[in-house]
C-alpha cells in the first residue's frame, strides 16, 4: 500500500515536472554540449536511413548537421509494391524524392560509399568525395546472394528471371511479364529460407497476383516454391484465404529450396525436380548490404550485422550505428520497413544522448505493425512490441502484446493505405 502511494506520488511529480519544464526549458534534451556543431553521416536512404536523417534534424532542432548518402535519386516504397504487380497501384504513387529531407536541412549526396576510415572518421565516395563525421549511421539494406545461383550470374539472366524484391524497375518489369502471361500460364515464385526482407511479402504477392489472375486469366496457376517448411508469417490467415479464394490458382509447396535456375527456359531447379514456368520470379537468399562489408562490421552467420540494441551500434565498431534489414534481428523480430523506421529513431535518440555526453536509454522499445493485402480490398496484419532485456542483451517480444487479424477484412485494407501515407511522411516529409 505504502509502495503504491509512493509510486503514484512520484509518477505525479514526474508528470507535473515534465509539463512545467517543457515550457521553460524546451530545448535542453538532445542538444549537444560541445560548442562545435556535430556532423552525423547517414548512408542509405531507405526506411531506416531516411527516418534517421529526418529525426536527427527534428530532435536536435537543427543543431546537428546531417548528410545522407544514397545512390538512388528516389525513394521507392517496397510496402504496397505488390499491388503494382496486381495492377492496382502505380509505382509512381510509391515513389518520392528526398526534397522533404532537403527542406529540413539534410544534405543529400547521390553517391555510393566505397571506403570507411573508422579512426579518421571519414567515408570515401565513388565520386571521389571524402566526408568526415562525428558519428556514422549505416542503413545498408539487403543484397542478394546470387553466388548461390550459378544460372543467375549473368546480368541478362537476371533481367529475364526477376526478383522484384527491391521496388523499382524490376517491379514494373515483373508487372509486364505477368500482364503478358497467357491465360493458362504458370507464374512460379521462389521463397528463400528465412531470414529475408519482409517475411509475409512473398505470400502477399502470391495472394494479390492470384486476385489479378482470377479476374483476368482464370485458367492461370501460381506455384509457390517455398524453401521454408511452412508459410513463414501470418500462416493461418494466408492458408485460409488461399483455400477460400484461390483454391484452383495457388499451389503451395513447402521445403522446396532453389538450387539453381535455367534462365532461358525459366526453369527452377530444385533438389529432386525441375519446374518450368511462364513467369519465374526468384527471391534470392539475402544478406546485409555491401556497405556492411565495406565497413568490415562484425556479422552473425556471415550475413547479418550484430548490434547493441540500446544504441543500434555495431558490436565491433562503437560509434557506427546500423539499422534496418541488414542487422541480425532479435527473436521474433521481422525485417520490415516499419521496424527499420523505428530502429532509425532509436538510433537517433541514442546518438543525441551520446553527443551530449549522456548514456542512451537503457530500456528502448520498438513496435512493428505489418499489413498484407489478400486482394485489393482486403488485408490482414501482424503486430508486436519489443523491449530491451538487460539480462539477455537483446530485444524480446512483450508477452501478451501483439497479435494477428482475426480474419481478412476490408477495414484493414483502408488502414494499410493510411499506414503507408503516415510512415512515408514520418520517413521523408
Amino acid at each position: 500500500m505504502a509502495t503504491n502511494d509512493r509510486d503514484r506520488r512520484r509518477s505525479f511529480i514526474r508528470q507535473v515536472g515534465t509539463v512545467a519544464l517543457a515550457s521553460v526549458l524546451p530545448a535542453c534534451a538532445g542538444r549537444p554540449s560541445t560548442a562545435t556543431r556535430a556532423h552525423v553521416v547517414v548512408v542509405g536512404g531507405g526506411f531506416g536511413g531516411a527516418t534517421a536523417a529526418r529525426y536527427l534534424r527534428l530532435w536536435s532542432e537543427g543543431s546537428v548537421d546531417v548528410t545522407l548518402v544514397e545512390a538512388n535519386p528516389e525513394f521507392v516504397s517496397c510496402p504496397l509494391s505488390n499491388l503494382v504487380l496486381a495492377g492496382e497501384r502505380k509505382l509512381a504513387d510509391l515513389s518520392f524524392s528526398y526534397d522533404g529531407l532537403r527542406r529540413r536541412g539534410v544534405r543529400v549526396v547521390l553517391d555510393t560509399v566505397i571506403s570507411l576510415d573508422p579512426v579518421r572518421r571519414s567515408v570515401g565516395l565513388l565520386g571521389g568525395e571524402r566526408i568526415d563525421f562525428d558519428r556514422l549511421l549505416l542503413a545498408p539494406g539487403v543484397d542478394f546472394a546470387y553466388e548461390d545461383l550459378p544460372g543467375l550470374q549473368a546480368a541478362a539472366a537476371r533481367e529475364h528471371v526477376l526478383h522484384a524484391w527491391k521496388a523499382g524497375p524490376q517491379t514494373l518489369a515483373l508487372r509486364r511479364q505477368l500482364a503478358a502471361m497467357p491465360d493458362g500460364g504458370v507464374y512460379a515464385i521462389t521463397i528463400p529460407l528465412a531470414p529475408y526482407r519482409c517475411p509475409p511479402g512473398p505470400y502477399e504477392r502470391a495472394s494479390v497476383v492470384a486476385a489479378y489472375l482470377k479476374a483476368h486469366k482464370p485458367r492461370a496457376k501460381i506455384l509457390v516454391l517455398d524453401a521454408n517448411a511452412e508459410i513463414v508469417s501470418k500462416k493461418a490467415l494466408f492458408a485460409k484465404a488461399w483455400a477460400e479464394l484461390y483454391p484452383d490458382i495457388i499451389e503451395y509447396r513447402p521445403n522446396c529450396e532453389l538450387r539453381d535456375v535455367h534462365a532461358a527456359t525459366r526453369t527452377a531447379i530444385l533438389d529432386f525436380e525441375q519446374v518450368r514456368a511462364d513467369v519465374l520470379n526468384v527471391i534470392p537468399n539475402q544478406r546485409a548490404g555491401e556497405l556492411a562489408r565495406v565497413a568490415e562490421l562484425r556479422l552473425i552467420n556471415q550475413r547479418w550485422v550484430e548490434v547493441d540494441w540500446r544504441s543500434m551500434e555495431s558490436t565491433s565498431h562503437p560509434g557506427i550505428h546500423v539499422v534496418g534489414d541488414a542487422i541480425f534481428a532479435a527473436p521474433a523480430m521481422p525485417k520490415s520497413g516499419h521496424l527499420a523506421n523505428q530502429q532509425g529513431k532509436l538510433a537517433v535518440a541514442a546518438i543525441l544522448e551520446l553527443l551530449a555526453g549522456r548514456l542512451p536509454s537503457p530500456t528502448p522499445l520498438l513496435t512493428n505493425t505489418c499489413y498484407s493485402f489478400i486482394d485489393a480490398r482486403n488485408a490482414v496484419h501482424v503486430a508486436s512490441v519489443h523491449r530491451y532485456d538487460a539480462g539477455q542483451k537483446t530485444m524480446l517480444p512483450v508477452a501478451g502484446a501483439g497479435g494477428l487479424s482475426a480474419m481478412r477484412n476490408e477495414f484493414e485494407a483502408k488502414i494499410a493505405s493510411a499506414w503507408a501515407l503516415n510512415i512515408w511522411a514520418d520517413t521523408l516529409a
Binding site: S11, I13, R14, Q15, V16, G17, T18, V19, A20, L21, A22, S23, V24, L25, C28, A29, G30, Y55, L58, W59, H338, N341, Q342, K345, L346, A349, E353, S361, P364, L365, L366, T367, T369, H381, A383, S384, V385, R387, V398, G400, A401, G402, G403, S405, N409, F411, E412, K414, I415, S417, A418, W419, L421, N422, I423, A425, D426, A429
Partner: protein, 102 residues
C-alpha cells in the same frame, strides 16, 4: 495551471527535479515516435490518411481510450494488441506529450 505546477516543482527542489523531468520528456518523445508510423510524427497524421489527429488531443480522453483498448472494452483491430506492450506510466507519458503538440 502551469504556474501552479512550476511552483510545486520549485518547492520540491528544481535542481533535483529537472533532470528527471528532462529524462521523462525525452522518454515521452521516444515513446511517441513508436506511434508515429501509423499516427504521424508527434501525432500529426497525414490528413488524407483519415487517421485521427492525436496531436493536441486532450490527455485524459486519449488515456481513457488507451485503457479501454487495453481492457478490451473498446473494440479495435490492432490497438488492443499494441497497447498491451506499454506500461500505464508510459501511456501517461505518451498522452501528455501528444497533448502538448500544436
Amino acid at each position: 495551471m502551469k504556474k501552479l505546477h512550476f511552483s510545486l516543482v520549485a518547492l520540491l527542489g528544481l535542481a533535483a527535479a529537472w533532470p528527471v523531468a528532462a529524462q521523462d520528456d525525452t522518454l515521452a518523445r521516444n515513446l511517441v515516435a513508436s506511434c508515429a508510423n501509423c499516427h504521424g510524427t508527434d501525432g500529426h497524421a497525414v490528413k488524407a490518411s483519415g487517421m485521427e489527429a492525436l496531436a493536441g488531443a486532450d490527455a485524459a480522453k486519449t488515456l481513457q481510450k488507451l485503457h479501454e483498448f487495453k481492457s478490451g472494452v473498446r473494440p479495435a483491430t490492432v490497438m488492443q494488441q499494441i497497447v498491451k506492450g506499454y506500461t500505464d506510466e508510459e501511456l501517461a507519458l505518451i498522452v501528455g506529450y501528444l497533448a502538448r503538440q500544436k
